[in-house]
């Protein structure tokens, strides 16, 4: 009895619905390596994220090296217990122009590498 009612209601309701379902009907799409492609990109993304922090630290360190050394030199004038070896550190090993150029190149290289890794 119940199934009869359901069938009647179903027939009443869904003549158009069935026609639409038939129009939209298609076989399930085979995976054909789709999942593997997605997972490859996901794994690459995980690696990129792991690289971002060390890369940012390296670039930040390179950029901050000279100002930090200058600050140390400035503080060392006040003789506040800074180790002797730090005070006499050869800051002038690299000129500021070289450091700036190296930092920019490093920044661009890392940005490009991250972009490439994320794309493929």
């Amino acid at each position: 009895m119940t199934s009869k009612i359901i069938n009647m209601a179903d027939r009443e309701r869904s003549a158009a619905d069935r026609r639409l379902e038939a129009l939209f009907e298609s076989a399930p799409i085979a995976d054909d390596g789709f999942t593997d492609r997605v997972l490859r990109r996901v794994r690459r993304r995980i690696w990129v994220r792991r690289l971002v922090l060390p890369a940012a630290a390296a670039i930040g360190g390179a950029l901050a090296y000279e100002p930090a050394m200058a600050l140390l030199r400035f503080i060392s004038r006040f003789e506040v217990g800074i180790p002797q070896e730090l005070r006499t550190m050869p800051v002038s090993l690299l000129s500021s122009a070289t450091i700036a150029a190296l930092s920019v190149v490093l920044l661009l290289a890392v940005a490009l590498a991250l972009r490439i890794l994320d794309e493929f």
Partner: protein, 197 residues
């Protein structure tokens, strides 16, 4: 006794598949790529089917489907297990589709401004020839939102509740959108409602 033994063997050999929300929890807790792979394997067919109908181009749809799953990977922590996972996933797919279309339109505008009309015309999504022309004409009669809802309902088999959670609208609105869409179709095509048999 023998029956009991057989039952035990049967039970022990069939391992039930973990539900979607359990796999999502594994991905969120431990970045478990294998659990995510299982989710992709389960749902790729419906997501790709949805995007194929929406974009009308298989290659574009598959690219968008990959992007959809990558966005899903990024946003998985925002999925609340209250709604169905496929509903949530199709919302991500629809957003990805809209974003991609906006980008394509902007690019076409730039090309047109630069005088490259031929290339600009090719930037829009066009349906491939192997699709049923009936379906093309039918979808063309609907707005973008109605198209998405119709595809979810009739191609992906989502319930009104699932469509509501995918499109962020109440069930009543989903029903009225479907009703309105069917009215439009009825006026343009020979699809009769309340027809017996």
């Amino acid at each position: 006794m023998a029956i009991h033994g057989t039952r035990l063997i049967t039970l022990s050999t069939t391992t039930p598949e973990p539900p979607d929300h359990a796999l999502v929890a594994r991905v969120v807790a431990a970045n478990d790529a294998l659990a995510f792979g299982e989710l992709v394997r389960r749902h790729q067919s419906r997501v790709r089917n949805f995007l194929r109908h929406l974009s009308g181009d298989h290659a574009t749809a598959d690219d968008l489907a990959q992007d959809t799953f990558l966005h899903a990977w990024d946003k998985l922590s925002t999925y609340s297990a209250r709604g169905s996972f496929i509903g949530w996933l199709l919302r991500v797919a629809y957003t990805t589709f809209l974003q991609s279309r906006r980008r394509a339109k902007r690019y076409a505008q730039i090309l047109r401004a630069a005088g490259d009309d031929a290339h600009a015309a090719s930037q829009g999504y066009t349906r491939s020839d192997d699709e049923a022309p009936d379906l093309d004409r039918l979808l063309a009669a609907l707005t973008e939102e109605e198209q998405a809802i119709f595809i979810m309902a009739y191609a992906c088999g989502l319930s009104h509740r699932e469509i509501g959670s995918a499109m962020l609208m109440p069930i009543g609105t989903v029903k009225s959108v479907i009703y309105r869409g069917k009215q439009k179709i009825r006026t343009q095509f020979d699809i009769k409602d309340h027809q017996h048999g």
